[in-house]
């Protein structure tokens, strides 16, 4: 909050070539609600930042400020070295945005959509058309390019939307829940597309509620809740913060659970926990842990169906940080901006 109060003038613009996005003390109110409550953020060039948080945490508000759609109340934000407030017009030439909903005109064909966006970026018609064809091919939409987008599947619409965000070869790409509402196959294909863009050097800020998506795509992850950053790090760092590994034993017979819990009790300082036929125990040293557990259980004559070591998932991280699980995405866009 201290950064926010003097942010208007004093924060120097970190224009170093290595930083694509720098945010300091960003605050945005909607009426009484502090949608952003002093957010700090750095995204190095050429990396993917996963912005994680429950509904209403401020993810979309942050993206809207960084893409010049909203003016922050205080704090500073630089994207591609440009101030989102002072240099908004110049900045719009250098960013691409794909929002929560495929922002395409359904009554235009795929090619007409991309050509229109290209021309609005200032390309002459022929060049805009050429770029549109290029992108349609790249996103495997070339065959559908002459059809109205209303005939497209959900996955195709998202790909067209992403293509529209890439028309001007932006330096920084903002993807707000890019795979929300897609079937698993379309999600994976979109992930591959995003990975391809990143391998070509794009900087991406990606918001998501799907933890596996952040795990797969993001170089680093920022978790926000109630408009504040509550954790930042790589996926591994965040998982380590929650704790070490767990040994998870599936018993042949759930009736043996209590016996199994006492048999495994000596393996760790923390007590094992059990639910149904599964008993979990935290382990500090993974080497020999499985053999040790099997030995202890066999001594008691307990049958084991399955046994494995489990790293905490991002779900565990999310749960321990925010006190609640990552929610299913809602289909109400207004929820992010009360």
């Amino acid at each position: 909050m201290s950064a926010a109060s003097d942010g208007l003038t004093s924060a120097p613009a970190p224009t170093g070539a290595e930083v694509a996005i720098t945010v300091r003390g960003l605050v945005k109110h909607f009426g009484q609600v502090r949608a952003l409550d002093g957010v700090d953020l750095d995204v190095p060039r050429g990396t993917v930042l996963g912005l994680l948080g429950p509904n209403g945490a401020g993810k979309t508000t942050l993206v809207r400020v960084l893409t010049t759609l909203l003016t922050p109340d205080s704090g500073t934000a630089f994207v591609a070295g440009l101030d989102v407030r002072e240099d908004a017009a110049a900045l719009r030439h250098r960013i691409g945005l794909a929002g929560q909903y495929a922002a395409i005109d359904e009554n235009l064909t795929g090619l007409e959509n991309l050509t229109m966006v290209g021309r609005l970026y200032g390309f002459p018609r022929a060049q805009a058309k050429r770029r549109g064809r290029e992108l349609l091919e790249r996103f495997e939409l070339d065959e559908a390019g002459g059809r109205q987008a209303s005939t497209y599947s959900g996955g195709m619409r998202r790909r067209l939307d992403l293509a529209a965000a890439l028309v001007a070869k932006p330096e920084v790409l903002f993807l707000d829940e890019p795979t929300t509402g897609l079937d698993p196959r379309s999600r994976i294909s979109l992930w591959e597309t995003i990975e391809g863009l990143v391998s070509e050097g794009a900087t991406v800020l990606l918001t998501t509620q799907y933890l596996d998506e952040a795990d797969r795509l993001a170089d680093s992850i920022t978790v926000i809740d109630h408009g504040r950053v509550i954790a930042h790090g790589t996926s591994d760092e965040l998982k380590d913060r929650v704790g070490g590994e767990w040994l998870e034993v599936t018993l042949e017979d759930a009736a043996d659970r209590d016996t199994a819990i006492s048999a495994l009790a000596g393996m760790s300082e923390e007590a094992p926990t059990g639910q149904d036929a599964i008993v979990s125990v935290p382990v500090r040293e993974r080497r020999g842990a499985i053999a040790e557990a099997v030995r202890r259980l066999t001594e008691q004559g307990i049958g084991v169906d399955d046994i494995n070591l489990r790293r905490p998932t991002l779900d565990d991280v999310f749960l321990s940080l925010t006190g609640h699980a990552a929610e299913e995405p809602s289909d109400d866009p207004a929820q992010e901006q009360p």
Binding site: L69, A89, L97, Y101, E106, E112, R119, L120
Partner: protein, 254 residues
């Protein structure tokens, strides 16, 4: 400035490309108004005394003005749809001239308004309407209708940006346009109304515009109606276009 013109034309082109692909809109522009003309001409017309002027001549200028006002719904609904589909966000994230999305929308409305005026005039001519005025006045009538329609498009652009849903855009527009157009000289002589309604109808800008159209097309006394109508249209334009653009700049739908 060049950017504004180019971007406005790009957006207008987009709206016009869409038009034939939305059959329900084409029906709204054509079949529906024709139905209204026929209903008034043949169902109500016989019972309405217009003091010597054939009802069909009285009706056509009035119903065209009403139709132009209702045409604004297409603007409101279209913009509201763009807000909800995220298209307005996309446009606002592009380096385009800020007023272009609205200017392009209202410009394409001029084209659709012209089409629907033509449809109604032709329908009118088939069922017995005729111009009783010099050609220059007839053309001036078309121009006045287009100017008025253009001004009204900006009112509906603001409604479309402010409304939370297409349904609410629709009902706001409906609640305003229905009484404004019916409590005017569009369908019946104002003198036939009860005193309170008559007082309202006499100051209603729709009455002035309808009377201006009648003077231009069927040669009724002109008084100051034509200038009054032009002034009204300009006032509406000057008030509502900056409001709509300001709303668009700020953030549509938030």
């Amino acid at each position: 400035m060049r950017r504004l013109v180019t971007d406005t034309l790009i957006i207008a082109e987009r709206n016009l490309i869409r038009l034939p692909r939305k059959p329900e809109l084409l029906i709204a522009f054509t079949v529906q108004p024709i139905m209204f003309v026929l209903l008034f001409r043949y169902v109500f017309g016989g019972a309405i005394n217009t003091g010597g002027i054939p009802y069909v001549d009285f009706l056509i200028p009035g119903i065209i003005v009403q139709n132009i006002a209702f045409g604004g719904f297409v603007t409101a609904l279209g913009l509201n749809e763009d807000v909800h589909k995220g298209l307005i966000d996309r446009f606002r994230s592009l380096p385009m001239a800020r007023p272009a999305v609205l200017a392009g929308r209202t410009l394409s409305d001029v084209v659709t308004n012209f089409l629907s005026i033509c449809v109604l005039v032709i329908t009118g001519l088939i069922i017995g309407f005729s111009f009783h005025a010099p050609a220059l006045h007839v053309v001036a009538g078309f121009a006045l209708l287009l100017l008025f329609g253009y001004a009204f498009s900006w009112v509906f652009a603001l409604v479309g940006l402010l409304a939370s849903t297409p349904e609410s855009a629709n009902s706001v527009g409906f609640l305003a346009v229905f009484p404004l157009t019916f409590i005017s000289s569009a369908f019946v002589p104002v003198s036939s109304m009860p005193a309170a309604l008559r007082a309202f109808a006499n100051i209603n800008p729709f009455t002035i515009i309808v009377d201006a159209m009648r003077s231009l097309w069927i040669g009724t006394p002109a008084h100051n109606y034509v200038w009054g109508a032009v002034v009204w249209a300009l006032v509406i334009l000057v008030v509502f276009s900056p409001l709509a653009v300001a709303r668009y700049r700020r953030a549509a739908g938030t």
